[in-house]
Structures are given as C-alpha cells and as structure tokens.
C-alpha cells in the first residue's frame, strides 16, 4: 500500500467514525422533531373543530378561508411548538368523544354534533373526562383566528375574504413612498 492509499484509507476511516455518531444524533433529533409534529390526520380534525369556532354563514368560515392550509404551513413552526402536545391531545379527545357519541371520528360527524361537542368542551363540562381539554380548545380558538385573519400570505384568509366582516373598520392597506 503506497502512502497515498494509506492516507486515503485512514481519512475515510476517520470520517466514517465521525459519521456514525453524527447520523445517530441526527436520527434521534429527527425522531424527536417528528414526535412534536402534527400529522395531517390530526390537522384535519383540528380544521373541523376550527370550523365550529368560526363557521360559514353568508360569509366564509374557517374551512373555506383555508384554515387547513394555514395549519399545514404554520403549525409545525417554532412559534407554535409549545402548543403542539395540547393540540394533539385536543384532536384525540375530540375523536374519542365523537366515537362515544356517534361511533364516528370527529371529522366525519354531522356539523350539529360537532358543534355540540365543541360547545361542551368550551363550557368546561368535559374537563373531568379529558383533563385540560378546555384550555387546549382555547389555544385552538386563538390559532383559528390567527389563521383566518392574518394576511393571506400565511396560508389562510383566502382572497382576504375574512376581513369583509370588519366593514372597513380596520385599515387593511398600508401606504408608503
């Protein structure tokens, strides 16, 4: 083995030993991150609950304003990281309650039944069965209103339709030089 091959073998071995722990750490980190992420099924349940928070009437509600899109784009970002465990629990509890009441997942239920569950959660009457569920719903209310009323660029408020309800009472455009 000439000197060059020897050097190459040593460097490759060295890099390899460096890579093993690096890859392990990286995988552990990714696992940790995915544990703290909300998957699409949970997001769909949350979007259904968001529609109960801000429903469609003659003006659009959370779903048609694009709340699912907003959640998909924003919820796994740093700003919401602390809220994720609570939101996950909220979605699971809503599903469990829906199963109990109608044998369906929350998203598949009839809207009136969904509203009834969300109202019960909001009143605090389900907290004994699902501890903390009211607080988690309150977090979802804030996020729903953020999603619906933020600038469209963040994924919700489709075509700025949410702002119609404000009847010009809020300045929506800004002017500059």
């Amino acid at each position: 083995m000439n000197r060059r091959t020897l050097l190459a073998t040593i460097s490759a071995g060295f890099l390899f030993t460096l890579l093993i722990p690096y890859n392990r750490i990286r995988r552990a980190f990714l696992r940790m991150r995915s544990a703290g992420r909300l998957e699409s099924k949970i997001l769909a349940t949350l979007a259904s609950a968001a529609e109960c928070v801000y429903p469609e009437d003659h003006e659009p509600g959370a779903q048609s304003l694009g709340i699912l899109n907003f959640l998909t784009l924003q919820i796994n970002q740093d700003y919401y990281r602390h809220a994720i465990p609570g939101l996950k629990k909220l979605a699971q509890s809503l599903d469990r309650e829906a199963q109990k009441r109608g044998g369906l997942s929350f998203g598949d239920m009839d809207r009136t039944l969904q509203d009834a569950i969300v109202e019960a959660v909001n009143s605090g009457s389900l907290d004994t069965i699902y501890p903390g569920i009211q607080r988690n719903l309150h977090t979802l209310i804030d996020i729903t209103l953020e999603g619906c009323f933020a600038d469209s660029v963040h994924g919700g408020n489709r075509e700025r339709q949410a702002w119609i309800i404000m009847q010009g009472g809020i300045r929506q455009e800004w002017f500059d030089v």
């Binding site: 429903p55 009323f149 309800i165 404000m166 009847q167 300045r171």
Partner: protein
C-alpha cells in the same frame, strides 16, 4: 472566553431610548464608545406591515426557544416568552413605538408633595426638577424633528419644529365637544416628521396606518435607529456590536472591568471599558445587575441598598372605546390620516371623594390598533373570561364593526408597591443558561379606582360627542411596554440605587439610563423623558471626566 484587546472609554448596553442618545453625545465629543445590542439591525424592508409576522409572532421579541420569563400577576403564574419585553433590536422599543412624546410637568417631579403619600405605595419625588431636564427636552425635540405642540407647563405652550401631523376628521368632533365641556384638547406631540428632512436623510410620514408595533419605512419615526445611532456612527467613534447579549458585568472590588457577552454564534466575548452604562430596559437592566453578583456585591452589582429590581412600575392605560354611528365620522379605512392627534391633560388631578391619591394622567385619543387578529381574539372573550365562538362570535363581530370606534389611552401612574418587583428566577434559565427574570405584579387599589374614575370621565366625553356607548377595558395591564423604577435614583444610598446623575451609589464607573431610574411613574408616556435624561447624564459624564 476571548477578550477584545481594545479598551473603550465607554461601554453602553442597549441601543434604545436610554442608551443611544448618550452613546451619540459622548461619541461626538471624541470618546470611544462601544454599543452592545442584543437584537439585530433590521433594515426597514425587513419589517413587514404584517400583523401576524410582527405583532403575533412577534418579530421584535425573543422567541420561546430563547427563554421564558416567570410572571406572577396577582394570583396567576405563568411562563412567558415575550410578555413585558419592550423590543429586542437595534433601536430598542423606539423602533416600534407610536412616538407619542409628552414632557413631564413641573408637579410631576414631586408627586408626593403634590398628591401625598399612600399606604403600601413606594413612589418618591425626583431628585431633579423640571428645569434640570427642560434643556434636554429641547435638544431631543430639535434632534428628532418632533411635530405638534407641547404643553410644557399647564400654562405655557410651545410649538415644535414641524407642524402637527394631519388629523383624522373625528378630531374636529373631539375639539368641539371638549370645548363645550371646558376641556383643552391640543395636537398630540409626536416624534414623527410631518415634513421631509432631506439633510438628515429622513422622509416625512406617509400615514402608513401601521405605526405603533411596526417599523417605519420612510424614516419619519424618530427612533434611535434613524437618528442617534447613525449620527454616532458617523463620528467614527462608535462601535455598534449587534446581536451581542450581555449576561454579566465583571467587577473587581467596586469597579466594573468588563461586560461579558455572547455574540450571535454563542461565542463568549469580554468587552473592556473605563465606564459602563446599562440601558437594557427596566427589567433587563435589573436582571443584568442581579446576575452580576460578586464577592463584594453578594446581592447583585450596585445593590447594597437591596433596591435593585424593587419599585417596578408601569403605566395604567385606562383604555376606553367609544362606539359611534358610521355617519358621524369616516372609518379607519376611509380617511387619509390614521392619527386622531388629540390629547387632553384636564384629568391630571381627579376630584373624587373615594380617591386618597388623586393623581390621574394625560389622555391620548387614537383609532384602534390595526391588527384584525387581536381584535377578533378580544371579541372572542366574553364576561368572566369565557370564550365566545361559532355564530355568536360572528354576530358579535358584525355588531362591533357596524360602528366606528374611537379609543383613548390614558397614562395613569402605576403606584410602585412592595408586591411589584423583579428578582431572578430560581427555576427558569434562558437558552444561554442565565437565570431569567421573575416578575411579580400587583395593582394598588388606588390605581384600580383612579382608572375607573378616569374611564367615567372619558365615557362622559364620548357620550357628549354622540357615542352610542362606551366600553371600558378593565384589564389594567395593556401598557406593559412603559416600564420604570427598578434602579431608582435619589439622594439617599440606602433607599436608591443611583445618585441624581444616574451614577451608581456603590460602583463609581457604572451608570443606568433606561427607564429604570425613575422613582415614580409618569402621567405621560415616558420615552421623551428617558431620552432627555440620557442626554443629561451624557453631559454629566463628559463634564466630570472618566
């Protein structure tokens, strides 16, 4: 830890209202000054007029990852990332302020002599008078190019260099009704240019409508980022180190020797100087001193009096919203000017038998903040904190927006009291491992009463103006960004942290110039006074020599 080999004359910590004017004043007179700023230097284009990105997330305050503060508000406790931060960026909170700049009146320097003492309140008279500060108010005014006019004393009016900003048409209704009721409205003095200032490279206000909480794209807002900082840089004597977080002031005996900080990559650096000025904001300066304990100062640097962190005070906002029929004046989106531009100072003294401390404050009128998210979230709260949702929420929103709104913010002195203070958290540290602030807040009963009395007076004015009804926000804590008092100045080293020139009683080469020096709250927003005092202290330092 690496040490920068250069030893500066002066090291200033914090580039906001308390730090930058002083840094400029000393740099222009030839002293070498290093300005250490925790936040970034944002260009105007980095700051979108986007309520989600700027106000909710929020751009200018530390993220949860950077660290949480321990907050004890009455009986409720929480861990919070961005509550009670002013702003973390080059320029500090002046970058995002609304620029309502009112000076103090003569009587504001002696609140106890004027209004008396109150049990359980620790407010003190100031060790300086109006005349000590007046020349520096003039200097700030001339430097920033303020607009409007100021009531210097209740009887003496003074015009500023720029004409008043254009006012929303509802100001005419305010003027008429105030006059009928015997009040004296005047155009709100603003640290905002109403005309172009090409020689200072600043444009006039474009009435963007997104002012308080946002950065300014034209340079009209008189933040230190647009004024004192670039001017100081032009002298060639200022080194601005942005994204440098000072976590400890090193001392030997009774002298500060270095500021230890982390740069943006987390690399620890030590900055040496002959003199140190703390201007990291009321809460963060106290935290820094408490974190800088040593064998000589076991309770925290410059804290032999035990007063560092005590006497924390804010401003009681007394927010009252008037609901007006749409035909009385145009809505926010229909007018060229988003500024109401009216202030009254007729309620500085409150005459009510139940009130033993009869001090009120200035009332500034404004249109509600243009943040639709916050507005909807507020509407989703019913009485007793119950959340409103579904059809009821939408109906409530429609009813709310079927009116035009006028809002008033009052500035009532928050009475400092033994239950309102900052200490170091025993349980919470920031991302760098430094103990976070633990903030305890308790409202003095006299403040609650004063706020209610003031609200009734404002509601009476709205009624006279033709409002359908008025709504009082009983939350006494919406103006947490106006902070004072954790390192108060005074003559007595046993009851104050700083002497009348804001120099530490215990550590001769240490000064504190942010809002923390104030021994009582103000009946006006405080930033004009913080800036004026910063220039006053700079003069003192220069005259005294290092």
């Amino acid at each position: 830890m690496s040490s920068l080999s250069k030893k500066y004359d002066v090291c200033v910590i914090g580039s906001g209202a308390g730090g930058a004017p002083l840094a400029w004043s000393l740099a222009k007179r030839g002293l070498s000054v290093v300005l250490l700023e925790r936040g970034k230097r944002y260009s105007p284009r980095d700051i979108p007029k986007d309520e989600y990105a700027v106000c909710r997330k929020p751009l200018f305050r530390p993220s949860r990852t950077e660290g949480l503060r321990e907050i004890h508000y009455g009986s409720a406790s929480s861990l919070n990332a961005n509550y009670l931060w002013t702003a973390t960026c080059v320029g500090g909170a002046t970058r995002v302020m609304s620029g309502f700049f009112l000076p103090m009146n003569e009587e504001d320097f002696a609140p106890r002599s004027r209004f008396g003492s109150v049990p359980e309140a620790s407010h003190q008279g100031w060790p300086i008078t109006y005349n000590d500060l007046a020349p520096y108010y003039d200097q700030v005014e001339a430097a920033l190019g303020m607009s409007g006019n100021a009531l210097r004393t209740p009887h003496q009016e003074k015009e500023f260099s720029c004409p008043a900003l254009e006012a929303h048409p509802c100001s005419q209704l305010i003027d008429r009704s105030c006059k009928e009721l015997g009040y004296s409205p005047f155009p709100t003095p603003r640290a905002v240019l109403s005309v172009d200032w090409p020689e200072k490279d600043r444009g006039k206000c474009s009435y963007s409508g997104f002012c308080g909480s946002y950065g300014c794209l034209t340079g009209a807002k008189g933040s230190t980022h647009e004024t004192y900082i670039p001017w100081a840089e032009k002298t060639g004597n200022l080194t601005l180190l942005q994204q440098h977080y000072v976590y400890r002031l090193e001392s030997q005996g009774t002298k500060v020797t270095a500021a230890s900080c982390f740069d943006k990559d987390g690399v620890p650096i030590r900055i040496k100087a002959r003199l140190f000025v703390c201007a990291a904001s009321t809460i963060e300066s106290a935290r820094l001193l408490l974190n800088s304990h040593s064998t000589t100062f076991a309770q925290g640097l410059a804290n032999r009096s035990g007063q560092v962190g005590k006497n924390l005070s804010f401003t009681i906002p007394c927010e009252v919203t008037g609901y007006f029929d749409k035909d009385l004046f145009p809505s926010a989106s229909q007018s060229n000017s988003p500024f109401v531009q009216r202030t009254i100072q007729d309620f500085h003294t409150l005459d009510n038998p139940g009130l033993t401390y009869a001090r009120g404050g200035s009332v500034i009128f404004l249109l509600p903040h243009p943040n639709p998210i916050q507005r909807m979230i507020s509407l989703s709260y019913g009485p007793n904190g119950k959340r409103i949702l579904g059809k009821t929420l939408k109906e409530r929103a429609r009813r709310y927006f079927s009116f035009n709104h006028l809002q008033s913010d009052s500035f009532i002195e928050f009475l400092p009291n033994p239950k309102t203070f900052i200490t170091l958290s025993q349980n919470t540290r920031d991302i760098w491992g430094i103990p976070s602030a633990r903030i305890a807040i308790h409202h003095h009963p006299q403040n609650i009463l004063a706020s209610q009395i003031m609200a009734q007076k404002i509601a009476g004015l709205y009624q006279h103006m033709g409002a359908r009804y008025a709504e009082y926000n009983p939350n006494l804590f919406t103006a947490g960004e106006l902070q004072q008092g954790t390192c108060r100045f005074g003559d007595d080293p046993t009851t104050s942290v700083l002497d009348p020139n804001c120099q530490s009683h215990d550590v001769p080469n240490l000064y504190v110039t942010d809002g923390s020096f104030m021994p009582s709250g103000l009946p006006v927003p405080s930033t004009f006074t913080i800036m004026a005092n910063s220039l006053r202290v700079a003069d003192h330092i220069y005259k005294k020599g290092l």
